[in-house]
């Protein structure tokens, strides 16, 4: 009985119109799947939770983040992501979205910096508030254009340092960001590598890239995680969360992505 079922099913398969398996053309073979995931992005669930967390009174000080200044004034979320990283006078630092949210969570809500850093990346066992908040704030710049300021001397210092760091080779693999990201049409295995010398591709990476839902990690990841992860693959020590190195690289990337139309959270493999 069992055997005949198998035989029957196999026969059915043989008679069916053959499914084209054009594995040679990998981009096409992957495209339908990518599109189907992008149309219904689980990252929306993170943005939804982030919106709730932003408004909720939380932390030892029992405050919401509705007075958090993300660069456009207290509580102004719409458009904030489009103009980050930027210089903040109160901290005298150039900060990206993650770094600035951490400042607000510490100053306004009384959370401990080390706790925020410990929970910066969600796991299957524990959600990260940071990933939810970044998803929400990022999505509130949707349909706007990237427009990172370079008016302050420190903003220009970070942009140029980021450029230097992008090309800086080190470590047991002699890699820099540029090793993988300065030519068109390159892949690591089947994974496309954006050419960050091309402003159009750079715009895509920043304005529709991060924060993004990572299917392989079943979580939204932010640009801080993307940089941490690249750095890990390059066999370097754990890149500090919101470190100047990570913010400078983000300044370089976001600065080059000027004009990119934002649609976040993204979705990635």
């Amino acid at each position: 009985m069992t055997r005949s079922v198998y035989a029957g099913l196999t026969a059915a398969a043989l008679f069916c119109a053959a499914v084209p398996l054009s594995a040679q053309n990998s981009a096409d073979a992957l495209a339908i799947g990518r599109q189907m995931l992008a149309e219904d992005n689980p990252g929306e669930l993170w943005a939804q939770r982030g919106e709730r967390l932003f408004a909720e009174k939380r932390g030892p000080k029992g405050a919401s983040l509705e007075r958090c200044d993300l660069g456009l004034g207290p509580g102004k979320v719409a458009g904030a992501f489009a103009q980050l990283p930027r210089y903040f006078a109160d901290t005298d630092k150039v900060q990206d979205l993650e770094s600035r949210l951490m400042t607000c969570m510490v100053e306004l809500q009384g959370f401990k910096r080390e706790d925020i850093i410990r929970n910066r990346f969600g796991t299957p066992d524990r959600d990260s508030d940071m990933e939810a908040l970044v998803s929400y704030v990022g999505s509130k710049s949707n349909r706007m254009q990237m427009d990172m300021p370079l008016a302050h001397a420190k903003e220009r210092e970070f942009y140029k340092s980021g450029e230097y760091l992008f090309f800086r080779r080190s470590g047991p693999l002699d890699f820099s960001c540029a090793t993988c990201h300065t030519e068109d049409g390159k892949r690591v295995r089947l994974q496309d590598l954006p050419n960050m010398m091309d402003p159009k591709q750079m715009q895509m990476v920043v304005s529709t890239g991060w924060p993004a839902y990572r299917g392989t990690q079943a979580s939204v990841r932010t640009m801080q995680h993307r940089l941490y992860d690249c750095n890990w693959q390059m066999r370097q020590a754990d890149l500090g969360f919101a470190s100047d190195t990570s913010v400078a690289l983000t300044s370089y990337l976001n600065g080059r992505a000027k004009g990119g139309v934002i649609q976040l959270p993204g979705v990635r493999r």
Binding site: A151, R156, E157, K160, Y164, L190, A237, G240, S243, T245
Partner: protein, 210 residues
């Protein structure tokens, strides 16, 4: 045409900056190198020193459109050639089957949570960047396709020696190329490299089968 398009896209950045000046190369280097020193808080020096550059890495970190000068290139080639070490056996082509595994795997030496991750077997992960076995479609293209490497070049002593040295320290032949200096940096041992060499040149290796 492409140049015009690029200029147009870049224009807004230039306008936004206006007359305000960017720091020069020396200021940038000193600012960025300071950032690298502070990039790994809480990490032991045994791990953070990986981020410190050797002279060749410094030379090969070419920012933007800058070019490597002929003198710099010659310098990198010279120091790289001086770096070669060979396996004790003197045999430069090993076991292609071991090489196949090394070419396909290797997650070693990664650091997480302040320590080197429990040693997953180290390897070269060649397939991340190179096509090798023509049956394997899940391969990268950052480096050139090496499919049919031995079939095209043969497996003479000269080819084997070149291949070994190329993997050991690629910069001896192509200064500042994207190819990691796998032997020089201790990423692969000399013995492991001999296996990868065999995987590339051995007529029995899938690399050289149609």
């Amino acid at each position: 045409m492409k140049a015009i398009k690029l200029a147009m896209v870049f224009a807004p950045v230039v306008v936004a900056v206006g007359c305000a000046s960017f720091p020069d190369a020396d200021e940038t280097r000193s600012s960025a190198e300071q950032m690298v020193k502070e990039a790994f808080p809480g990490m032991p020096e045994t791990l953070t020193r990986r981020a410190m550059q050797d002279p060749a890495q410094r030379t090969c970190s070419i920012v933007g459109d800058a070019k490597l000068s002929p003198e710099q290139a010659a310098q990198v080639v010279q120091t790289s050639q001086a770096s070669f070490k060979y396996p004790a056996s003197g045999k430069l082509a090993g076991d292609w089957k071991a090489g196949a595994k090394l070419a396909a795997d290797g997650a070693g030496l990664r650091i997480r949570g302040g320590q080197v991750e429990k040693m997953k077997e180290n390897g070269g992960l060649c397939v991340n960047c190179h096509a090798l076995d023509p049956q394997d479609v899940n391969v990268g293209n950052v480096g050139p396709s090496l499919t049919g490497y031995g079939a095209q070049r043969g497996s003479s002593d000269a080819v084997v020696k070149y291949t070994y040295e190329k993997i050991y320290n690629a910069w001896a032949y192509f200064p500042c190329s994207n190819m990691p200096r796998l032997g020089h940096n201790g990423f692969l041992t000399p013995e492991q490299i001999t296996h990868v060499v065999a995987y590339l040149v051995d007529p029995q290796s899938p690399v050289n089968k149609k």
